[in-house]
C-alpha cells in the first residue's frame, strides 16, 4: 500500500507550485489556475490525512473543497470579464498601476 505520508509530500510541493503561480504570474486567468492547483493540493492533503488516521472524515473535507473550487472559478471568471470591460486588460500589474495613477 502507499504510505500516505508520501502523498503529503506531493501535496506540499503542489501547494508551493501554486503559490509561486499566484505570486509570479501577471495574467489574472493564470492566477485563477494557480489557485486551482493550491485547492487541489489541499484536497490531496486531506485525503492523505484520512488515509493516515484510517477515518473517512478527511475525505468529507475533500467533498467540501469541491464547491469552493467551483464557486472560485465562477466568480473568478465573472470578475475577469468585469476587469476586461473596465481596464481593457487582464494584466494585474497594469491594472494596479492604473489604479495608482
Amino acid at each position: 500500500m502507499v504510505p500516505a505520508e508520501h502523498a503529503l509530500i506531493v501535496a506540499t510541493i503542489l501547494f508551493c507550485l501554486g503559490a509561486i503561480g499566484v505570486l509570479v504570474r501577471r495574467n489574472f486567468l493564470f492566477v485563477l489556475m494557480a489557485i486551482e492547483i493550491m485547492l487541489n493540493a489541499a484536497g490531496l492533503a486531506f485525503v492523505a490525512a484520512s488515509g493516515i488516521h484510517g477515518q473517512p472524515d478527511g475525505q468529507i473535507f475533500f467533498l467540501f473543497i469541491l464547491p469552493v473550487a467551483a464557486a472560485e472559478v465562477a466568480i473568478g471568471l465573472a470578475l475577469g470579464v468585469l476587469l476586461r470591460l473596465r481596464y481593457g486588460t487582464l494584466d494585474l500589474w497594469q491594472i494596479a498601476q492604473t489604479r495608482e495613477d
Binding site: 500500500m1 510541493i13 509570479v24 485563477l32 492547483i37 475533500f62 473550487a69
Partner: protein, 166 residues
C-alpha cells in the same frame, strides 16, 4: 506492495511536472491542458490511497465540470489571444523566495509531526461511510456548502449581467 509505490511516484512526478507547466507556461491554452492532466492524474493517486469514491468524484466534477468551465471561460472571454500568449511574468525571485519559505515551513511541520502508526489499517470501501457521514454528522455543513455554491453562481451571473440602462 512495491508496485503501488512505484505507480504512486510515477503519478506524483507527472502531477508535479504538469502543474509546473500549468504555472510557468506562456500560452494559456497549454496551461489549461496541463492543469487538466494534473487534476486527472490526482484521481489516480486517490485510487491508490483507497479513496475510490473521491477518485471518481475528482474526474467527474473537477476535471469534467470545473476545468471545462474554466476552459470555456478562457476561450469565450478572450477575444485577442495574442495578448495572453505574450503575457509576461513578474520577476521570479520574490515570489519564489516567498513560496520557498512556505515550503520550508510546511516540510518542517511534516517532518516534526509524529504520525500515528496505524496507517496499515485500511479503510473499507468508502462510498457507504461517506454517505452516512455526509447526511448525519456533516449535514449542516453539506447543506451550507450547497447554499454557498448557489450564492456564488447567482452572484457571478449578477456581476456579468447586461446593464439595461446603458
Amino acid at each position: 506492495m512495491e508496485g503501488g509505490l512505484i505507480a504512486f511516484w510515477i503519478l506524483a512526478a507527472l502531477i508535479v511536472a504538469s502543474a509546473g507547466v500549468a504555472v510557468f507556461a506562456r500560452s494559456i491554452v497549454n496551461a489549461a491542458y496541463a492543469l487538466f492532466f494534473s487534476l486527472f492524474m490526482t484521481a489516480g493517486i486517490y485510487a491508490l490511497l483507497h479513496a475510490d469514491f473521491l477518485a471518481v468524484t475528482q474526474v467527474v466534477i473537477y476535471v469534467g465540470g470545473i476545468l471545462v468551465l474554466l476552459l470555456f471561460g478562457i476561450l469565450l472571454t478572450n477575444r485577442s489571444l495574442e495578448e495572453l500568449i505574450t503575457s509576461s511574468r513578474r520577476p521570479y525571485w520574490v515570489g519564489s523566495a516567498i513560496a520557498g519559505g512556505i515550503m520550508a515551513v510546511l516540510f518542517g511541520i511534516l517532518v516534526s509531526t509524529s504520525w500515528p502508526e496505524q496507517s496499515a489499517q485500511q479503510l473499507p470501501a468508502t462510498t457507504a461511510p461517506l454517505g452516512v457521514l455526509l447526511l448525519q454528522k456533516y449535514v449542516v455543513a453539506f447543506e451550507f456548502s450547497s447554499l454557498t455554491l448557489l450564492g456564488a453562481l447567482i452572484g457571478a451571473s449578477y456581476l456579468v449581467r447586461r446593464k439595461e440602462r446603458d
